[in-house]
């Protein structure tokens, strides 16, 4: 089992990229689990026909902690096991701590043992703002971290911060920083800007994903591009990304 964390600035396309990765790998016959680590809880909706699934924290709250795996894990496209950590009501509580609680609940319920995934993706909100959002990088969780970015300044700034957090944890023998995924926004000089940040943080751009209207069209149908337009050029791009991710993590 390989565990992979996908980080990046909010709104940069992490969930779109991760869901397409999951779908591409599931279509190859691999057992994939995708865990959304964002209080918005919409990481997996394009694997679930647009459906927002109940979150771990919602179920803990509603069921007074008497939660079973079937309450929080749902099979989507290609048998991908979809989980959303969820979070507190906006404006109160602690979203970072929520991630920790959700992860602990998954362990307590022996989710990994039951589903035996080949690959687990953690789709993690934005920047590593606190201990909770660093949880997927910690010991026992992700083996590899990829950061999704565009050439926009704030996205690159966030990518640098995340890379810094991973480097900090490096002394503890945690996850390996395995590269940037460029989700293009057609910013001027975008490829060069992203390459420069990669160089400065000692990593590489493993794949440049072009901007394409099919992504939006697929999402409008509640699907990934891989599911909605499997024969498209864009689906091939995601399949190519899947190849590169697999190579990086040694699968």
């Amino acid at each position: 089992m390989k565990k992979i964390a996908i980080y990046g600035k909010g709104g940069i396309g992490k969930s779109t990229t991760t869901s397409n990765l999951s779908a591409a790998l599931a279509a190859r016959g691999l057992k994939v689990m995708q865990i959304g680590c964002d209080p918005k809880a919409d990481s997996t909706k394009n694997l679930m026909q647009g459906r927002i699934i109940p979150t771990v924290l919602d179920q803990i709250r509603q069921r007074d902690n008497q939660v079973e795996l079937d309450h929080i894990a749902f099979e989507g496209f290609g048998g991908v096991v979809c989980v959303e950590a969820g979070g507190p009501t906006p404006g109160i509580g602690c979203a970072g701590r929520g991630i920790i609680t959700a992860f602990q609940k998954l362990e307590e319920l022996k989710a990994y043992e039951r589903y035996q995934p080949d690959i687990v993706f953690y789709d993690v909100l934005g920047d590593v703002v606190c201990g909770g959002f660093a949880m997927p990088i910690r010991g026992g969780y992700a083996d590899n971290v990829f950061i999704v970015t565009s050439g926009e300044m704030m996205a690159l700034y966030a990518a640098t911060n995340i890379a810094h957090a991973i480097e900090n944890f490096g002394k503890r023998g945690y996850a390996k920083y395995s590269g940037l995924i460029q989700n293009s926004r057609n910013v001027e000089n975008e490829d060069a800007l992203v390459q420069q940040v990669a160089r400065e943080s000692g990593t590489q751009v493993i794949k440049i994903i072009p901007r394409h209207k099919l992504v939006q069209q697929a999402e409008n149908q509640g699907m990934t591009v891989v599911e909605a337009f499997p024969g498209s050029e864009m689906a091939r791009e995601y399949n190519c990304l899947a190849d590169k991710v697999m190579k990086e993590v040694g699968l």
Binding site: C94, G96, R97, I100, C130, G131, G132, A134, M135, R138, G139, F169, K171, R172, G173, Y174
Partner: protein, 413 residues
């Protein structure tokens, strides 16, 4: 509000269990807290603290440390302490604030070890579970780190799950060791009171593990998987019951099959003795005065079970229930036993009409509304700490009979 305690103090938490296990080893133990949790452990959960040299520290966590999560500051403090003390190992122990801010104590410990070369551990304790969980996790972490499988030494046993929270200063443990010695058995390690790293390393050579508490049962089950050592879970209380205990121990030695030394449903209900389905009569229906138990033992489950079995074997008392204060382990329970999760539930159970005798920590007496019930105090450090330490009953072997006989005489007077 159902879990609010109006009369009882909070029972010993997980971080105290961790610290108690580390107490005998040459460890720099730092509780990551503002000082209340450290004070709770050293002041109330650890009878060995006074006059000892065990280096248990408080990290001095303050608001700004919680906000900034400055792990380097904590690491530097530990390195300074290590320079002075030259410990064999170091440990960081969590408390509620690190739990809330998601401190990565295992990660900090890994970094600390990389910089000092001293084996270091991080325990993500939260203060929201009981001592037995913390103690078991710590013993298992130590075994994982220091204990390799060894060839079995015939006649050797480990005592597992010995902590001051269950055994105070350890009088009952000393009596148990004596009984083992009298029967030609020798002790490999007593985890985790009166032991050292050498004993811990040797513990994998034991022929049988003796789990003397729920902590011990959690550890014994794991040691059986890791090292193939079978276990006997229970305690030899009472003359006749002790004979059975040692017969059971011999059986485990021969068969290599683990065993819970406990009463069975059939021991406690006449109709079940006659039926093929033991316990099927519903002896646990406490509201049914015809079948409901008459004696209630409240406390740690393994010890309470041992008292129950001794009352049955040595005194013929066949209507006894156990109330578990720290969680009910299903494998140790009989149908009539209760998981007393809150002060409210403890009070309700103590005051049920069917009970004529209560055996419990003296602090629980305050919850009894009916003074007509007999109450035999048996203090537990996890409940009443040093305030009732003189009422920890000596129960191992025939001491149990002396204790009971004295109580019966007092009642007659």
């Amino acid at each position: 509000m159902a879990v609010l305690s109006l009369f009882l103090p909070p029972f010993s938490p997980d971080y105290s269990g961790v610290s108690a296990v580390l107490f005998d080893l040459k460890t720099v133990t730092a509780m990551h807290d503002a000082s209340g949790c450290t004070g709770n452990y050293t002041g109330y959960d650890e009878p060995r603290w006074y006059g000892s040299k065990s280096p248990v520290y408080c990290s001095g966590l303050r608001e700004i440390d919680a906000v900034l999560g400055d792990d380097e500051k904590l690491i530097q403090k530990m390195i300074d302490a290590a320079r002075d003390i030259q410990p064999d190992l170091m440990a960081l122990v969590g408390s509620p604030v690190p739990m809330v801010i998601g401190s990565d104590l295992a990660g900090v410990a890994a970094e600390l070890e990389a910089r000092t070369g001293i084996p270091s551990f991080g325990f993500d304790t939260t203060g929201t579970t009981y001592y037995d969980k913390g103690a078991a996790a710590t013993i298992l972490a130590l075994l994982e780190r220091f204990t390799e499988p060894l060839a079995t030494m015939p006649g050797s046993v480990n005592i597992l799950g010995a902590t001051p929270m269950d055994f105070g200063k350890g009088e009952n443990l000393r009596d148990l060791k004596k009984l083992l010695q009298d029967r030609g058995l020798f002790l490999t390690a007593c985890l985790a009171m009166d032991y050292n790293l050498a004993a811990l390393r040797q513990s994998a050579a034991a022929e049988v593990n003796l789990a003397v508490s729920r902590t011990g049962l959690l550890v014994a089950a794991e040691m059986e998987k890791r090292y193939g050592i079978p276990y006997l879970c229970g305690l030899p209380y009472g003359e006749k019951a002790s004979e059975e205990y040692f017969a059971a121990l011999e059986e485990v030695r021969q068969s290599r099959q683990s065993r819970i030394f406990n009463a069975s449903s059939r021991d406690f209900c006449d109709c079940c003795k006659l039926s093929a389905a033991g316990g099927a009569c519903g002896v646990g229906r406490a509201n049914d005065s015809r079948t409901a138990p008459e004696i209630l033992i409240v406390g740690e489950q393994v010890q309470a079970n041992a008292i129950r079995l001794a009352l049955q074997r040595d005194y013929g008392e066949s209507s006894v229930a156990v109330g578990c204060l720290f969680g009910l382990e299903p494998g140790l329970a009989l149908p009539q036993d209760k998981d007393l999760k809150s002060e409210q539930l403890i009070g309700q159970e103590l005051n049920r009409d069917n009970y004529r005798l209560i055996i419990a920590d003296p602090f629980l007496k305050v919850l009894l509304q009916n003074n007509q019930k007999e109450f035999w105090p048996n203090a537990q450090y996890a409940v009443s700490s040093k305030l009732a330490a003189d009422q920890i009953a000596r129960l191992t072997g025939s001491h149990f009979n002396r204790w009971v006989n004295l109580r019966i005489e007092k009642t007659k007077v």
